[in-house]
Symmetry: D2
Subunit: 106 residues, 4 copies
Amino acid sequence: MNQQTIDRIRKFTQDRDWDQFHSPSNLAKSISIEANELLECFQWSDTDYDIEAVKEELADVLVYCRNMLDKLELDEDEIVNAKMDKNEAKYPVEKAKGNSKKYNQL
Amino acid sequence: MNQQTIDRIRKFTQDRDWDQFHSPSNLAKSISIEANELLECFQWSDTDYDIEAVKEELADVLVYCRNMLDKLELDEDEIVNAKMDKNEAKYPVEKAKGNSKKYNQL
Amino acid sequence: MNQQTIDRIRKFTQDRDWDQFHSPSNLAKSISIEANELLECFQWSDTDYDIEAVKEELADVLVYCRNMLDKLELDEDEIVNAKMDKNEAKYPVEKAKGNSKKYNQL
Amino acid sequence: MNQQTIDRIRKFTQDRDWDQFHSPSNLAKSISIEANELLECFQWSDTDYDIEAVKEELADVLVYCRNMLDKLELDEDEIVNAKMDKNEAKYPVEKAKGNSKKYNQL
């Protein structure tokens, strides 16, 4: 997400005085709720989905994730790279290649 | 997310030949599953949470969102700004300020 | 669920003094969390799943649903039948037969 | 759930020829989706919720759980009691009393 988009999301929250509702817990609920509106696009079919709805619901998830990063003063690249360090260790290429098993079953 | 982080996520998937598992539907399930691991950090308390766990689970949500953007060849800023256009129209400042009601109840 | 099973769930909560954690909101989070552990059984495949894991996770969802019914003093058959009244009206057989569309798109 | 309610749910599915959509995976998605509509009742407040909406969404979760029990030919009391055996072993009263910690942190 570029800085302009991030700033727009922040201004949206600020203008509406919604920071008061953005506890980390409420944002975690919101991310799950929007993730499930996204999932609903695939409820009865894996292949026949409305791409416009998918774009909107995925955007909603991303906006709430941005709200949570802001609320907890986290840097997106920092937390993602820290997690990728772990993922790369948990799923070594030679073991995980072409395999969807969970790391504890590899 | 900066380009280096995005490239790292793409390489991680590619090296493991995991693109075959990344159908949009499977990614939607994955986003929801990780969103709920994030939610689990707040299962019994809104305020007493493990920030390290929160960072990891939020990172997992963001990685799967990036996988889905890639799979569907979507531009994050584009879909988020298109959704913000709608949000700004649905929640006019004068009506929504300080109010957590849903747009259809404003 | 028969009365003996219901009583066992209630005694389990009571013996551990866990009613204090069972706010409706926490139980809603818990139902979603367990529903996603169930979903995880189908994360990468619709057909190759561990039936023992499915049984355990579905049971967890059902236990938390029972906790919520108890907390809010709801009768399961009453609320399900009230909802089935609505479902039957929203999805008339002649329109909905063999069709997975949502009622507002029928 | 009494037998009459169970039969009504089965007839509802049968009359609409919806069994074809009720793969275990689709039902797992549906349980999560409805669990999150329930969670939405508590999105911004733990205490100020619409009880009528809660009843409807909880009923939806229960209906899809019943669909899954039917699809997989599972007995609700059997799977719940098998899980309660495990829960009682994982959360001994003396350790878990008044404590919301997860079993692996007790």
